[in-house]
Symmetry: C2
Subunit: 254 residues, 2 copies
C-alpha cells in the first residue's frame, strides 16, 4: 500500500535474496477498507516511494489506477479461507475479502515465483497462504520478520499518524508481547494469565496506556482459533487504538 518504511525495504531485500528480479506493487486497495476506515487519509507519498524504490534497485513497480483494478461492472470477489474469520475478520468485516481479491488479481497479473509478505500482518499472511493453497495459485509465499523502530514499535505506515506522545504510548504493544513471551518461556502456559498480562501492559485504564484494546490474545498459530494452554508456535496478537490510530502487532511464542 506504499508509504514505504524500513519494514517494506526489508521485504524487498528478502525478495532479492530469493529471486533474480523483484517487482513491487503499490496500491491503496479501496476494497479492503470499510466505509468509516482511513482510506481517504491513508498516506500516499508516491514520489518519495518511487525514489526509494529506485535506490533499492527494484526491476519493476506495479502502480495501477483504481479504475484499472476495479473497472465498471467488476463484481467477482474471493471469499476468504476460514483463518480470515476470527480477530480482524470480526473487527473489519470485508477486509480480508478485499485483501484476498486484490492479492489474487496481483498474482494473476504479475506471475511471480515467490511473493514476500510481512509477519507484522500475521493473520493476513496466514490468509494469503491458505488462499494460495486452496485455489492452487502457483506461487510461494514467504513471510519475513517484523522490523521495529528503536524502542520496539513495529514499523507501519500508520505510525505516521502518531504524535510524539502517542509514539511513547504505542511502545506498550511490543512491551506487552515481550512480557507475554517472558511469562510463556518461564513456564506459564495458561492463556488467561498470558492475556491478562498483555492487557495489564497495554494499560487501557491508565492515562499512559492505549485508548482501546480490540484484542490481546494467544491463539493457535495456524488456525488463529482459541487455545486454553499455550504451546510453542502459538501466536500472541494485539490490536489496539492510540488516539484514533489503530495499531497491530504480534509475536510467535517460543
Amino acid at each position: 500500500m506504499g508509504a514505504l518504511h524500513d519494514g517494506h525495504f526489508s521485504l524487498i531485500r528478502r525478495a532479492k535474496e530469493i529471486a533474480g528480479h523483484v517487482a513491487v506493487s503499490i496500491f491503496v486497495n479501496p476494497a479492503q477498507f470499510a466505509p468509516l476506515e482511513d482510506l481517504a487519509r491513508y498516506p500516499r507519498p508516491i514520489e518519495d516511494d518511487l525514489a526509494a524504490l529506485r535506490r533499492e534497485g527494484v526491476a519493476m513497480v506495479y502502480l495501477p489506477a483504481s479504475e484499472i483494478v476495479y473497472p465498471p461492472g467488476f463484481s467477482t470477489y474471493v471469499e476468504p479461507p476460514a483463518v480470515a474469520a476470527p480477530l480482524e475478520g470480526v473487527l473489519r468485516p470485508g477486509h480480508f475479502r478485499g485483501v484476498c481479491t486484490v492479492v489474487l488479481k496481483l498474482f494473476q497479473t504479475i506471475p511471480a515465483h515467490v511473493a514476500v509478505f510481512g509477519q507484522k500482518d500475521y493473520q493476513q499472511a496466514r490468509v494469503i497462504v491458505a488462499m494460495v493453497r486452496d485455489l492452487d495459485v502457483d506461487i510461494e509465499i514467504d513471510v519475513a520478520p517484523t522490523v521495529r523502530e528503536p524502542g520496539g514499535l513495529a514499523m507501519s505506515s500508520r505510525n505516521r499518524y502518531l504524535d510524539a506522545n502517542q509514539r511513547d504510548v504505542a511502545l506498550c504493544l511490543a512491551r506487552a508481547l515481550t512480557v507475554c513471551n517472558v511469562y510463556f518461556s518461564s513456564g506459564t502456559d495458561d492463556v488467561n494469565i498470558l492475556e491478562a498480562a498483555m492487557r495489564y501492559e497495554l494499560g487501557v485504564d491508565r492515562p499512559d496506556g492505549v485508548d482501546t484494546v480490540d484484542y490481546a490474545v494467544v491463539v493457535d498459530g495456524q488456525t488463529l482459533l482459541p487455545v486454553t494452554r499455550a504451546t510453542a508456535g502459538c501466536v500472541a496478537l494485539i490490536a489496539a487504538r492510540v488516539g484514533t490510530t489503530r495499531l497491530i502487532d504480534n509475536h510467535i511464542l517460543r
Copy 2:
C-alpha cells in the same frame, strides 16, 4: 464433468483448431451440486470416456480425486460475478460459487492459453468470462456452439436419464426456442409475447408437455437481466423438468 457426448467432442475439436495441445478435465464437482441435486446419480462412465479421449487424441486428461481438489481444511471460494445472480443463480443457490471456484482452480493448475466452454450452459459461459476478466486470469475463453441430436435436443450428459417417451417430450425445449426466434425475426420484439410463445410450446399444462418450467425468458445477452423489448443478441433461455430430469437450453436471437 465427463459422461462425454458429441457436444464435448465438438469442444475438443474446436480446441484442436485453436491450440497446439489439448487437455481435457473430467471432474464431477461436488461444490456445484446442492444437497438434493443429482451428484450421486450423475453418470461416471470413466473407462468409456478415457477410451473416447484416446480416440480423439487429446494430449492430457486431468482427472483429479475429490480429496485432491478439496483437501481437509479447504475453505476459500470464488464469490461469482453479478451475471451469476439471476436464473440459475436463483434456482441453484451456490451452484456458480462451486463452478467458479473449481474453474479458477483448474486455470491455476492447467495454465492453458485458451479454454473452450459450451454455449449450452449459456449463463455459465457468461459467468466464467466475467470471472476471468474481473480476476485478471491470463486465459482466453472460447464459447463453442451447442450440438444437437436429430430432432433438436441439446446434447447433455443428463439426457441419459430420459426414457424414450421423455426424449420426445424434451424436444419441445428446442422447438420453443425456434418458435421464439421465428417470432423475433418476423418483427415481434415484445418480450411478454416471446415468453408466452415459449411457454405454450413447452406445454406445461398438456400431457405431452414438460413437467415444470423453471424459466423460459428472453433477457440481455451479456448481463442476463430482464429487457422489455428484444434486440438481436438478446438470448432466450429455458430450464424445464421432464420427469425428474432438469434440462436447459438457449438460443441467441438474430
